[in-house]
Point group: C2
Chain length 281, copies 2
């Protein structure tokens, strides 16, 4: 079957994989200072946000990604007061972080203000906590922000970026991880989106090794479904600054969730056998 | 991006979703008595088997599906001697069942012998246990087979079928579930592929209700990634004939696996919050 122009397709020659959503129209497209941002209306997945032709999120399935980029790390830490989000301009991650009552301050640092402004217009539900007094939205370079941040000043760093090839490349290397390590408090944790276990297992292995070389005591891979990303199987990497026991919650989160539960939290830490062999343990 | 004929695409207007694999050629295509069966060579996913234009499996990712259709049910039961597979003509499920030493007899009943013959030729790894003396391959109608089977004669029924719309429709209704219930031993379990939690949650809810109405004491949803099926997020439904405690294994399975581990087993039972609301509890 050859799809016509009523379908939005993201295909990668390198991965040999394509994903398509049936669309009814393009609502917006612009070239910002950094990238091309577009919004489509799909038939069955609500609205679709793309950057440089890659799917960032859809209304229908972003809940899994945003919940899994936040709640496991926050509950595993147990007492996050000060959180930083690098990237995350669509504000969905910010919204989830702000559901935690322990949180007193969240700074979101995305280089491209246009992603946030477009999200406010086309994905208002993701942005409905942007006015929370605990939230600060900064539009600058995340690598520079981290280099200038004070030692041991942050409990949780969330790296909610695009792929490691392209503008976000600087967020996936050891030098950046060293800065994150320095900026985290002793009991601090970092969580970073880490691509697909099936087709990016080598990259995941390198990320974990890089985090450990940068001084992180321990790293964990969290797996979850994400239908609109390549393979539909995605992951986040959780890194612990100093050796510590992570908390495993037993009770409901105390706010509404659509994917996350305490059992999902525990299950997400389970490694597929092939990833165990790559990551060791 | 519009994909050219170097890509195999499965797209559903109803789901508004498409999945594509880059192919280097078509190795085989035939119209059997029941369906159109084709085999393609892909660039990055090995060989691809399709039936009536729908992806059945690829070399690269079938391990998740086949391991999750078998090992959780077998280990949860704890002492399966006599197993039956309805469908499963590619023989990948059969191969996994035969890895369990407790198993003395497995009967695979697929209506279409051509699926098995084509798999033997193009997917030999999936068929490498077909000559196991414990295995019987029958090519007949699964509904009729079940209606003729003796009461309480089977420990495990695995329903490894195509989608509930089409030839496999008769495997997703209450009358068939009643026959399965009759044929299972008191401590018996049934496992059936049950589509995507994200886009088939209503169907899953109906399946669970149908199994319970047919007399099954309890039903569980197992979730796992399956990149080459729609949304990349798939499930199996495990139904327990009579009320019993399911076993949760703690030690490695004692054979090579690529996805399955005891932690994956436990994690697969975790329900996404939205599925908890549909299934209750």
């Amino acid at each position: 079957m050859v799809l016509d122009r009523n379908w939005y397709t993201e295909a990668s020659d390198e991965l040999g994989l394509g994903f398509s959503l049936k669309i009814t129209g393009k609502l917006h497209e612009e070239q910002s200072d950094y990238q091309t941002i577009a919004v489509y209306e799909t038939e069955t997945f609500g609205r679709l946000l793309t950057i440089d032709g890659l799917v960032m999120l859809t209304d229908r399935d972003n809940f899994v990604y945003h919940e899994m980029m936040t709640h496991p790390a926050l509950f595993a830490h147990g007492a996050v007061k000060n959180a930083v989000i690098i990237g995350g301009g669509d504000c969905g991650t910010l919204r989830e972080v702000l559901k935690h009552e322990s949180v007193q301050q969240v700074t979101q640092i995305d280089i491209d203000e246009r992603v946030t402004r477009i999200s406010e217009e086309y994905f208002p539900a993701l942005c409905d906590s942007n006015d929370d007094p605990r939230a600060t939205l900064a539009f600058e370079d995340g690598v520079a922000w981290m280099a200038n941040a004070a030692d041991a000043s942050v409990d949780l760093i969330i790296i909610d970026s695009t792929d490691p090839i392209g503008p976000a490349e600087g967020l996936f290397n050891e030098a950046f991880y060293q800065q994150c390590h320095r900026v985290l408090a002793a009991d601090g944790v970092l969580v970073q989106q880490s691509e697909s276990p099936l087709v990016h297992s080598e990259l995941i292995g390198e990320m974990h090794a890089g985090l450990q070389r940068a001084g992180f005591a321990d790293t964990h891979l969290l797996s979850f479904p994400q239908p609109s990303y390549p393979t539909g199987w995605w992951s986040a990497t959780l890194a612990v600054r100093d050796a510590r026991e992570l908390q495993m919650p037993d009770s409901a989160p105390g706010f509404e969730s659509f994917y996350y539960t305490p059992a999902i939290h525990r299950g997400a830490f389970a490694q597929p056998a092939f990833m165990q062999r790559i990551l060791g343990g």
